[in-house]
């Protein structure tokens, strides 16, 4: 099949890639654009490890064709830290121990980013409902919820502190 040039903005920079129509976005990102933050977990649109922000929507990059992204604005975990400073979500996941192995974390943070754009003050129930497309297989979700609550508070301009008993000392 003929390849086509697809142009989009990735983390603020314009990119052009040459792809077959059947190429999935996750492969373009990881193999052609050195953007390996979005992970391939299940490859069946269940786990959310490949989540990217596409034109203001959280999507699973394993279930989007790259040719569908022409002209899009895309954000991946690589676009979060600015000038060496962690994004509040990254800081939250660090401060509240929102990860163990970290495999799900880029997808978690990218998804949580869109959630907080849509709802800056989510309840715990809101967070659990709207994060349900991201799976963590290390442990429970309690610290992930706390991490997002930490980031939400920080992004609202409130003073935040870790709830972790050792880090807090």
């Amino acid at each position: 099949m003929a390849k086509t040039v697809v142009s989009f903005t990735l983390n603020g920079s314009p990119v052009d890639v040459l792809v077959e129509p059947r190429e999935l976005l996750i492969h373009t990102l990881r193999e052609k654009l050195a953007t390996t933050g979005p992970h391939i977990g299940c490859d069946t649109s269940h786990c959310g490890a490949c989540t990217v922000d596409l034109d203001g929507l959280s999507v699973k990059a394993c279930t989007v064709l790259t040719v569908q992204c022409d002209g899009a604005e895309m954000l991946t975990i690589e676009g979060f830290a600015k000038a060496g400073a962690l994004h509040p979500l990254q800081e939250g996941f660090s401060q509240e121990h929102g990860l163990q192995c970290g495999f799900c974390t880029p997808g978690m943070i990218t998804r949580a980013y869109r959630l907080l754009q849509e709802n800056p003050s989510p309840t715990e129930a809101d967070i659990r409902f709207w994060m349900a497309g991201n799976l963590c297989r290390c442990t429970g979700y309690q610290n992930i919820v706390k991490s997002i609550q930490y980031a939400a508070a920080k992004m609202r301009g409130e003073t935040v502190a870790t709830s972790h008993p050792v880090l807090a000392e």
Binding site: M1, A2, T4, E20, P21, R22, E23, L24, H27, D43, T44, S45, H46, G48, T51, L57, S58, V59, K60, T63, V64, L65, V67, Q68, R111, L115, F129, W130, M131, A132, G133
Partner: protein, 287 residues
Amino acid sequence: MIPRPFEYHAPSALPDVIALLDKYGDEAKLLAGGHSLLPMMKLRFAGPAHVIDLRKVASLKGIALEGGEIRIGAMTTENELIFSALVAEHVPLLVEAARQIADPQVRYKGTIGGDISHGDPGNDHPAVMLALDAAFVLAGAGGERVVQAADFFLGTFETAMAPGEVMTQIRIPVPGPGTGAAYAKLKRKTGDYATAAAAVVLRMKDGTCAAARIGLTNVGPTALNAHDAAQALLGTAVDEAAIAQAAAKAMAICEPAADLRGDEEYKTAMAGQMVERALRLALSRVK
């Protein structure tokens, strides 16, 4: 997993979509949100030579109140339904159902038109459409036609849509005063298809049931219109005896396929339970 090679088309006007469907016939598949088609293509269960993406067709988007109906463009996503104040006000059942479909990321892409026209008995909108007495606008080379939900679902992956047609709009009559509705879905986890689910719309008048419609998800080759179960409610106060009777009649038409979610007997029993739950909830919402 990577799909077989195909040629990609992304027309921006409906006539171009129809012309492409006409030109490529069986070789073409319409791509809406892609969360049924792309997984099937990745698993090589589907291998269309031509994929016609509907994402640029602006006329397939949007939600409006027109002529006593909520009219929804077929490419409207599940999250757009959930976030719509118009839908929440006039057809809250649709919000309740959409919130139980798949997961947040899938709901940003998955569309109501795709969910309905795919013909998958596990999809949730078909039963909801049966309960709401919805109609679908289908466009093809010969023009437009409107098909009632009750006449649309023919079998697994089989609908009244003719080759060369595309679903453009979903029309839902706004339920009148005295109506209560609910969608009760049993699923093992977020993102799973229903083990069984029931959509119910009830209209009460002077304490008795004046109208009722019940749709069932994933307990037959297609979404089931539980007509006899709904008829059994008419004239009753929708008390526990009537609810049990309706559930029994709904269970009588179930023919689920056994899979990891359960065997036939279990799924049928759960369909009865979902009918009971949805009826109680719908009754409590009557206003």
